[in-house]
């Protein structure tokens, strides 16, 4: 897929809030799907909603799209009600769909959805960006799982919306399609568009999002940059061969655990730079130094476990 590079750095102030949920609560019968969730989307940022199945991610998106009304609290998009027609022309959405009418062609779907928007993107542009070249004349029923997802992505962006919702966009895609779609999300952001995506793939959130909102059982349990979310676990890990003993290491700043295995010492600390500086000063013979961040997955599991 081709990157849209010439349009980067659109002059949108990063602080402009384009959509928000404010203390939004949604019940399905006796089940509380969302409990006073607040969520803010600012222009040009990519926000990932992360959480296990049934956490309330899709419900949050549906509230922002106006497909559901909150039982309490508020959902606003571009300062208005997401149900207003004029607001909707600035939004695109890729939702999880079990079945789509199968006897229409790719190009017919594009033609139809383009007609919903006042200033749609040119067909050639959409086809190129969504990776649909060569399959425009295929019926929906003849598409592979990944191609179906790419068509749904194409329908979400065909109106050139300022705000794009992607609910599990890469589900069922092969690696190549997935990376293609990631590039498209980055290009959307580079053009000043705002993207909210939900995903099961933690790697996806890590590589795409400016900000991650972790949600579990209907409440936001953590929010921050991927780096901040990762640091919510026990910091980073130092691995090296050193003659320093465990008692001394334990007194270094922020150290949470020490492990010595086959002559290699593994130290976990929230303040890894300070620890390394002191270790290097104390042990000039220290070698084989490695510093690693915990995978986002570890952070995610730690955050969603327990309460």
């Amino acid at each position: 897929m081709v990157a849209v590079e010439e349009k980067s750095a659109v002059s949108t102030p990063a602080a402009v809030e384009v959509a928000y949920l404010r203390r939004a609560t949604k019940n399905y019968g006796a089940h509380r799907a969302l409990d006073e969730v607040s969520l803010s989307l600012r222009a040009g940022e990519v926000v990932a909603l992360l959480g296990p199945n049934g956490a309330g991610k899709t419900t949050a998106i549906k509230l922002l799209l106006g497909l559901l009304g909150p039982d309490a609290g508020e959902a606003r998009v571009f300062g208005g009600n997401p149900r207003d027609a004029a607001t909707r022309t600035r939004i695109g959405a890729m939702l999880q769909v079990a079945r789509v009418p199968e006897t229409l062609k790719v190009k017919e779907y594009l033609d139809l959805f383009r007609s919903y928007y006042p200033t749609p993107l040119p067909v050639e542009h959409i086809v190129r960006v969504a990776g649909l070249a060569g399959i425009e004349d295929r019926l929906f029923s003849q598409l592979s799982g990944g191609q179906k997802q790419r068509l749904l992505f194409a329908l979400a962006i065909c109106g050139d919306p300022d705000l794009v919702f992607l609910d599990e966009p890469t589900l069922g895609m092969d690696i190549e399609s997935r990376h293609g779609l990631w590039q498209q999300v980055r290009d959307l952001a580079a053009r000043g568009k705002t993207v909210l995506l939900t995903t099961h793939y933690l790697e996806e959130a890590d590589s795409l999002a400016n900000r991650i909102v972790v949600i579990n059982k209907g409440t936001v349990i953590a929010e921050g940059t991927p780096a901040q979310i990762k640091s919510r676990v026990s910091g980073r890990t130092i691995k090296c061969v050193t003659s320093l003993d465990e008692d001394l290491l334990r007194r270094l700043p922020g150290v949470t655990s020490i492990e010595v295995k086959h002559g290699t010492t593994v130290v976990r600390s929230a303040e890894v730079e300070d620890v390394v500086r002191q270790m290097l000063a104390l042990d000039t013979g220290l070698h084989s130094l490695e510093i690693s961040s915990p995978a986002l997955e570890d952070a995610f599991l730690a955050l969603t476990k327990g309460e």
């Binding site: 399905y28 019968g29 549906k62 799209l65 106006g66 497909l67 027609a85 004029a86 909707r88 022309t89 939004i91 695109g92 959405a93 939702l95 999880q96 769909v97 079990a98 079945r99 789509v100 009418p101 199968e102 006897t103 229409l104 017919e108 033609d111 139809l112 959805f113 007609s115 919903y116 928007y117 006042p118 200033t119 019926l139 749904l152 329908l155 109106g159 919702f165």
Partner: protein, 256 residues
């Protein structure tokens, strides 16, 4: 840049209707059932039974009633099955999240039902005039065409109402359980006068009965009741169906 905040309406409605029609036309199970059955029944029971050039022949009677059978089928199935599927399997949400105006969606389904009803009527009329030796005047053709087009409304409303209650997988089965007995009991397959007496007495409960009486009256057959009475019955039925559809839609919306 443009100051337009919404898409132009006419092309939007036209495309919505065009693609709704196209996708059903390409769905073979739908076209075979809704167009194929009335045509096949007419060939078997109407054309085969035509004897010479009587003015009020069985082939003329059945041409009208199978056209109604056809319009009820495409209105019920074309709206109920598609809507039930789209509502329950997520596609309707994609459209609702888009700037598509809700009336465009419903108008497209209604226009598609009109189109299929017209196709079925055209085919039956052609078969009747050629193979069925039907004698029919221009005025009678006009009366019949108007009845058939007007008849789409009550059954489209019924389709809308049923879409709110039937689950997608069971929709075709449930619809057939309503559609086929209703067609038989209201005299679409054979004249009401040859049905058992209790069925004749009960016939006015079926909306198809009222529509077929208007159609038959319009092409020279003796009509039971009055045109005004039948129109009132169909109008009442339409209002009832639409009202129920709205109530059920709201109930579903709050339940989910």
């Amino acid at each position: 840049m443009t100051t337009m905040t919404v898409a132009p309406r006419f092309p939007l409605y036209r495309k919505e209707a065009k693609y709704e029609f196209l996708r059903l036309l390409r769905a073979r199970t739908f076209t075979l059932a809704t167009i194929g059955f009335p045509v096949m029944f007419y060939l078997l029971f109407g054309v085969v039974n035509s004897r010479g050039h009587e003015v009020l022949s069985a082939s003329k009677y059945l041409m009208a009633t199978y056209a109604i059978f056809g319009l009820v089928g495409c209105s019920l199935f074309g709206i109920s099955v598609t809507l039930s599927n789209e509502r329950n399997l997520g596609w309707l949400e994609v459209k609702q999240a888009s700037p598509m105006p809700a009336p465009a969606y419903l108008v497209a389904k209604l226009l598609t039902a009109f189109a299929f009803a017209t196709i079925i009527f055209g085919l039956l009329l052609t078969l009747g005039l050629t193979l069925g030796h039907v004698t029919i005047t221009g005025t009678e053709i006009r009366n019949l065409a108007l009845t058939i087009l007007g008849g789409v409304l009550p059954f489209a409303s019924m389709g809308l109402m049923l879409a709110m209650v039937v689950p997608p997988q069971a929709a075709p089965g449930i619809l057939n359980l309503i559609y086929l007995p209703m067609s038989f009991c209201s005299g679409l397959w054979m004249p009401v006068s040859v049905l058992p007496r209790w069925l004749q007495t009960a016939a006015p409960i079926w909306p198809t009965y009222h529509l077929s009486q208007i159609a038959l009256g319009g092409i020279g057959f003796e009509m039971r009741g009055t045109v005004a009475g039948h129109i009132a019955a169909l109008a009442g039925f339409t209002v009832l169906m639409l009202g129920l559809a709205i109530v059920l839609f709201r109930r579903n919306a709050t339940a989910s």
